[in-house]
């Protein structure tokens, strides 16, 4: 597209009013949406080749995810961990880091919360909840913060390290839940001692969805403020653009890397806390439900924008919430959702090549009327 930039006027007006500002922002919305639709279209062709109806698939998805109050509750309960898991990807991504091991922080955060719940089982929720959440965040933050530290001090690739640590975390969880922390009464499914009733996180009044959703949305809002409105967020973006330039500018890149990864890990740990205290009632193998992996796709689809994470997480939670209905009605395997996620993920990454190629999103290249 060099010919267009060559013919652009030398003096570029700073902006072209509201329309110009709108056009610039529109690119970040239109391209991911188009990529999402392309991914869905490819998946629909895939279903057609199997002799299955994509129309029935998406009708059932709507019904199972958003069709009734009950399905909305199911979707929103699954949204909560996805919000935290996506932030665990999006925050380090500001520094150009691809951290994909949020699952490990969720799992170990859940174990920490479960163990803390046993310790504080005599106290009231008002005292125990902050302590349990703090334990979960501390463990999650240390786990993913270690990935950042390894990256900064040893140059270890954060993508591989974080995924390896997710496998280690799941093995650790199995060891703890089947060994030292096991409740002897949990026979079929090894678990920690169930939390007493007063230490179960309840529902948001009138919503029948647990409080994790509210805190997840709050975390997204705060993360947006951190990234867009504070000097730390600004410094992180500079460092993400060019690590060496940031160092030359005197930014402490090490603190940024470790801080952002640890914060992401702490939030993923908080997801583990809510999974234990609001959903399962004790820490067990159900913690490794794959939210950490779906969160990767949520963050990439949202282009690592914490505000965009909220609707994207609801959408992907909806796909997972309706999975059971689709399996029963259409006789499709459980992995169908994974295939859909794969197509959408590949499509969204391919769309990266399109940014800056369309004139309609670049007001400075519009011909003056």
């Amino acid at each position: 597209m060099t010919d267009q930039s060559a013919s652009a006027p030398l003096v570029v007006p700073a902006h072209r009013g509201l329309l110009g500002r709108f056009a610039r922002r529109a690119e970040a919305v239109v391209l991911p949406l188009a990529a999402l639709l392309v991914g869905i279209a490819v998946f629909s062709i895939f279903l057609l080749l199997q002799g299955k109806s994509p129309i029935q698939f998406f009708a059932l998805t709507y019904q199972g995810a958003f069709g009734s109050a009950f399905s909305w509750q199911n979707t929103l309960s699954r949204t909560a961990p996805l919000l935290f898991a996506a932030l665990c990807v999006a925050l380090p991504a500001r520094l150009g880091l691809v951290v994909i091991g949020g699952e490990g922080a969720i799992v170990l955060g859940g174990v920490a919360a479960g163990a803390a719940g046993v310790v504080f089982s005599q106290s009231i929720g008002l005292i125990a909840f902050p302590l349990m959440a703090a334990c979960a965040m501390l463990v999650g933050g240390l786990w993913i913060g270690a990935v950042g530290a390894l990256r900064y001090y040893r140059g270890v690739n954060e993508t591989i390290a974080s995924l390896l640590m997710a496998y280690i975390a799941i093995a650790l969880m199995n060891h703890l839940v089947e060994g030292p922390l096991r409740d002897p009464e949990s026979l079929n499914k090894p678990s920690t001692t169930p939390l007493p009733a007063q230490l179960r996180v309840g529902d948001i009044p009138g919503w029948e969805v647990h409080w994790g959703l509210a805190f997840g949305i709050l975390a997204c809002l705060l993360a947006w403020v951190l990234i867009e409105k504070t000097t730390w967020g600004f410094a992180a973006r500079i460092a993400g653009g060019n690590m060496r330039a940031a160092q030359v500018q005197g930014l402490s890149v090490g603190r940024l890397i470790i801080g952002f990864t640890a914060l992401g890990g702490a939030l993923a740990g908080l997801a583990g806390f809510f999974e234990v205290a609001a959903v399962h009632g004790s820490a067990n193998g159900s913690l490794a439900a794959g939210y950490g992996y779906t969160g990767i796709l949520v963050a990439f689809l949202a282009r690592h924008n914490p505000l965009a994470i909220i609707p994207v997480a609801i959408l992907l939670a909806g796909f997972e919430a309706s999975s059971g209905l689709i399996q029963r009605r259409m006789n499709l395997p459980a992995a169908t959702v994974l295939v859909l996620q794969g197509f959408v993920f590949v499509s969204i990454l391919m769309s990266d090549t399109l940014y800056g190629r369309f004139k309609m999103f670049a007001p400075e290249r519009w011909r003056s009327a």
Binding site: R154, L163, L164, A171, E178, Y293, G342, F345, V346, L349
Partner: protein, 307 residues
């Protein structure tokens, strides 16, 4: 089984396990060496491995021939490699992220198409008995070596020779070290990288066929737990040298055999911690061999992972 071997059972079982478990590591890491030497990284080989395991098992079951299964796995792996290579040829696309996406897609497709093949039994790949001279069953079991392991070892040496002494090897190395130099020589970097990624994917697919057709020798959704990813990390440890990959694969195979071996002799305390041994070893090796300041010795210059 209560022979007079005593505790010798453990190292023997680990040796046998190293040979058995290492083959998928070997094939995936050789595929990754080929890909990375051309200047690109494919983190999606975990997904390719799982898809290879499924397609190999399915083809072997349907045709009755395990070798047709291996061929199908190689073809499936090549297809995934080709897609990865083509997508990464687009400008400004992040090859690490595409690898993650291909990993999810590969696993999704493998689980989707593999569901009908969880129950049936496919024919196994043949193996050669190198322990015929011994009367001890454990020795014989340890030295029952699968043909694919021998092919993999041969492939490692062949690749080493290719990079060292052939024109093809030189072309791949030039493209991997400097896009500009390659262009100046009249080479087409995107094409060569895509081809390398395709062949690398085929290798990873064969590694998957080994999983489902020999050890553990059945298809299920938990057939690979990060072997493909560990093999990618192993390439850094092996400094992009195919023969070093062979040694590293044996080491990782031994670590992977630790948990099952200890369980087989009745040590179940901390079983899950031993199960984590290969991941801990991989991480330890990555920490030991990475460096924050200087570029890694032997690393291809265009590799995004080391820049």
């Amino acid at each position: 089984m209560e022979s007079d071997l005593g505790l010798w059972v453990i190292p023997l079982a680990i040796l046998g396990g190293a040979i058995r478990v290492s083959t998928p590591f070997l094939f995936v890491s050789l595929g990754e060496v080929l890909t990375e030497r051309s200047g690109r990284i494919n983190l999606g080989l975990e997904g390719t491995l799982v898809f290879g395991a499924m397609s190999g098992y399915a083809a072997a079951y349907l045709t009755g021939s395990p070798w047709l299964g291996v061929l199908a796995a190689a073809a499936g792996g090549a297809f995934f490699g080709l897609i990865h290579g083509l997508i990464c040829s687009l400008p400004r696309v992040n090859d690490i992220a595409v690898g993650i996406a291909m990993m999810i897609l590969g696993m999704g497709l493998a689980f989707y198409f593999g569901k009908p093949f969880v129950q049936p039994v496919a024919p196994d790949l043949p193996s050669i008995d190198f322990g015929w001279w011994s009367d001890v069953p454990q020795v014989r079991a340890a030295l029952r070596v699968n043909v694919l392991f021998i092919i993999g070892a041969g492939l490692a040496f062949a690749m080493w020779w290719m990079f060292r002494a052939t024109r093809v090897g030189l072309v791949i190395r030039v493209v991997g070290d400097s896009t500009d130099a390659a262009r100046a020589m009249g080479l087409r970097p995107a094409l060569i990288r895509t081809l390398s990624t395709t062949v690398g994917g085929a290798f990873a697919g064969v590694g998957g066929a080994y999983l489902s057709l020999f050890y553990p020798g059945s298809w299920n959704e938990g057939i690979s737990s990060g072997q493909g990813l560990m093999a990618v990390a192993l390439v850094i440890f092996a400094r992009w040298n195919p023969i070093a990959c062979f040694g590293a694969a044996l080491l990782f195979g031994g670590a992977g055999a630790l948990g099952p071996t200890l369980q087989s002799v009745g040590i179940s305390e901390g079983y899950y911690l031993f199960f984590a041994a290969p991941y801990v070893l991989t991480l330890g090796v990555l920490i030991a061999t990475s460096s924050p300041s200087r570029a890694m010795a032997g690393a291809p210059g265009e590799l995004s992972i080391t820049k």
